[in-house]
Symmetry: C2
């Protein structure tokens, strides 16, 4: 639904999704990731690019993953491990590795356990940015499961940029998204992937990079003033905005995500990491994630659930619309249509992304015709 906004983005060319996928995978291998991790990483980024979620697509290859890898911020040779498990749960360690691959591994673990037990949740600590949170619940769809992914970061001493707690003046939360997918029959899969802030952080970054203004309702400057300048937007509102508009609910959801992702995974404890004498300044050990997989047939037959989803979506499609709106969308529908269009026509790229990709191509000696 960001279509109108993205229209201001200027695309200079387009490349086939499979070309960008092969390139991304090869670059990830060249910088030291295993072929399996590189493939997962490319899958996640290209999924976002195909679906029009440019904020989380190939645009981030250099901007987030290669830049921070070069800065030594994460570990190319990570081994993901299970620290505790039951037939329905696991607490796992991302070993400071590529979050995209770590998250795929953890989501597969949740699905395999759910296959056996009916449902399972996996919490991961010590991980890194996992890309588009919606990718992981979408993995569950072909197995006729409900998929869930949350990822959260809580900064106990406040961050320069982030989401405010209601009545607070210091950002303490990342934009802590909630992503949930439900399988359907003929309709597009229902897929909610939402930051618990009004706007996700990566969208602010995208606007900043492209010199575009931001809507005043997204957040405030350091001084607490509304701003249209993406560079100055540091204090982001939780979903709802201020207290009068229900912002305490967005803040509550953000803290719920932080708890399930970070406290339940062991990524956030009492600030001592087990050493009572050494207070670590409330530091969270890397990003925390939470993955869930729930078999539909643990409750009712898959086919009747899917028919019910289709009927619900069709009832919404048929409902009366606001003047000027041709359609009422359900979650994931616009992205599903974009995916079909971009799979056919290629992934459009901005000048900034083209420049980044060319630089990566030269630097790592991986050919890419743009």
């Amino acid at each position: 639904m960001e279509a109108a906004m993205e229209a201001a983005m200027e695309y200079v060319t387009a490349l086939p999704a499979q070309t960008l996928h092969a390139f991304t995978k090869e670059v990830f291998e060249r910088v030291g990731f295993s072929p399996a991790h590189a493939a997962d990483g490319a899958d996640v980024l290209l999924w976002a690019s195909r679906r029009g979620v440019d904020t989380h697509g190939v645009r981030n290859l250099k901007l987030i993953y290669l830049r921070l890898l070069e800065a030594g911020m994460f570990n190319p040779n990570a081994t993901f491990s299970i620290e505790h498990e039951t037939p329905v749960s696991a607490r796992v360690n991302g070993d400071g590795g590529l979050g995209l691959a770590a998250a795929c591994w953890a989501m597969r673990l949740a699905m395999d356990k759910a296959e056996q037990s009916g449902m399972a949740f996996v919490t991961m600590h010590n991980s890194f940015h996992l890309g588009a949170a919606g990718y992981y619940p979408a993995m569950a769809l072909e197995r006729d499961m409900i998929g869930i992914c949350l990822t959260g970061y809580f900064n106990g001493q406040g961050a320069e940029i982030g989401v405010l707690p209601t009545f607070g003046t210091k950002p303490m939360f990342s934009t802590n998204p909630i992503a949930v997918a439900f399988p359907t029959q003929d309709e597009a899969p229902w897929l909610l992937d939402m930051a618990t802030s009004i706007a996700p952080y990566n969208r602010v970054a995208l606007h900043r990079e492209n010199g575009l203004p931001v809507p005043a309702q997204w957040g405030m400057t350091d001084a607490g003033e509304p701003t249209a300048d993406a560079q100055l937007l540091h204090k982001m509102w939780p979903l709802g905005g201020d207290r009068a508009h229900g912002g305490h609910k967005g803040y509550g959801l953000s803290m719920m995500v932080a708890t399930l992702s970070a406290v339940l995974s062991g990524g956030w404890d009492d600030g001592h990491d087990g050493d009572e004498k050494a207070f670590n300044g409330y530091k969270q050990s890397g990003d925390g994630h939470f993955f869930g997989a729930i078999r539909i047939d643990a409750f009712r037959p898959v086919e009747s659930f899917k028919r019910g989803m289709d009927a619900m979506i069709q009832a919404i499609h048929a409902a009366p619309k606001e003047k000027g709106q041709a359609r009422i969308y359900v979650a994931g529908e616009i992205e599903h249509e974009t995916e079909q269009q971009r799979t056919r026509d290629g992934i459009p790229l901005t000048a900034a992304t083209v420049a980044d990709l060319k630089e990566v191509s030269e630097k790592y000696g991986v050919a890419l015709e743009i």
Copy 2:
């Protein structure tokens, strides 16, 4: 956090919580509920009243439960039953009975299964208004579990009053709340209980009943105009409000709640109830609910989780505050403090509730000294 708003409510007297509890239980028995169902019903209503959640407290004894029971809207002799189950799940039938008791029964089933299996979810269809959704996750706290309750209604042909889908002009959702509780050590239990609309429906009703205006951001009239008149507020905004303020996320959460509560429980299907020739007009069979219980120790030791929660809450308490705000609250904290105060000082009652309780007392011959 509704304290400022409730200050406009005029209380005329107060009664001890145990007096109101005994009265409520006896009235429920007098109208035909079993002692066990009556006790559960009184527990849920008084829990809300003690916590200052007057919208869901004893105020509703006559207004919702007795009124609709007399109108034949639900079944005093309900038998709750399991239609399908696994060690981690159940789909259950509320038999059109007292939602307060049905929900207690279903939440206990989820907790008992979780005790054995680590976690469990129970979906219920054919139920009725369950009161304060937060009561059920709170039940899980003393068992060192995370508790979850969702309750949802989707109206495929639109309702007179309810929540709008983004770009739609017909209310299609109830205010479909999300309630989640996390155990803590010394801090108040963390308990989020939020409608996925800006304001819950019962709050609109409370304002209407007390002749109070409503904030314009809560919703619109039938004609789509903002209004301060609680009588005319029919089209409620999802959390976030319009599209520019992130309202599509509140709408997405509302549909997620409807799906987990109604589609997964079998309360909503394809509008045919199994009979392909008879379209029922997309009718949902009663309220749908979703209950979850998750053992903390399926992931990490309970004590470290609780210490982590306390540390997170203390970090938020210590953060810098907006001018004019003495505290930053976390979810459930104000209600926890109100509970302590009202347990000591009694439950304050408005003139309207006093009149209702007197009428109920006379009608059913259950003594109450006011």
